[in-house]
Symmetry: C2
Subunit: 155 residues, 2 copies
Amino acid sequence: MDVVSECKAGSGEKNGTRFSACLLFSANALARAITAIGDEEFGRVGLSYSHAYLLSEVISQPGITPSALSDTLYLTPSTITRLVEKLEQKQLVRRESEGKKTLILPTPAGEALQADINDAWNRVGQRYAAAIGETNVCQLTKQVFQAAKSLTGDE
Amino acid sequence: MDVVSECKAGSGEKNGTRFSACLLFSANALARAITAIGDEEFGRVGLSYSHAYLLSEVISQPGITPSALSDTLYLTPSTITRLVEKLEQKQLVRRESEGKKTLILPTPAGEALQADINDAWNRVGQRYAAAIGETNVCQLTKQVFQAAKSLTGDE
DNA sequence: AGATCATATTTGTATGTGCAAGCAAAAATT
DNA sequence: AATTTTTGCTTGCACATACAAATATGATCT
């Protein structure tokens, strides 16, 4: 796929097709690659990266609600429910109903993981930097973040 | 998540953590957003974007093998199998065994979709451009593509 | 030629995710 | 105060994808 190198501003021409396809697949490939690194590092802690990140949010804001987590993690509420369920099974987190809301709190076992999780995040960061360069990580993150925001109309 | 704005080169400090997390989630969010647009446009053709792209590859290279498709689409062979299965169900594609290889060929019904698929790709491209600007699409694609390549060690 | 190794594909199983529908609590309207 | 609407969360179902194991064909090396 060297379609990318032929990028010209006018998107009307025939290559626009392949080009959009490329963005679509690249974006997914990037997400998978990045996720793979995340899961690899968090594997040692016995979590996936989403679970890990959710857990650290819960630790830093005990009593946080699923909807708040949904906003922070850019995941739908239903997904949050699944993640919390699994963390609950592992006894790293517990739920408390308060009216319509649900509060999510870390258990001692969950809190005990915080240091490991931070280490894992650091290793993840280092691996990104090693693979694509620190400056690029930064640029990439900004651009990806911006684009994601614009595309979801969530500005 | 305004973590992004605080990006500094040194990834050692405490914010590196949040920052990597941000890239991870942004990348996934971007992929989902981009995919959503793709699926929306391809929905009219009755396909998902991966099926559509696979089909157009098969049309332009009749007899292409799953492994070749795997390389082009950046998907694992097993995923290709599933995709082809579904397209076969819909009678848009057929398989032909040739020794160890499997050749994938479009059916007439499949070929008939080509124009619609191209239109859909164009609309997808236009929507990307509308959302994040043509210049940005271009830059983004390049960057994402490059990063994905570096991260998978597939250079 | 027979045995081992390599390659190409498929299947079983699992995961993360979302959508749409359901339910439960709260808020608003009458 | 009773009904409707909104909000927050959860469940059922579906999908795209991957990994690991299974299978089948081909290639290589005695």
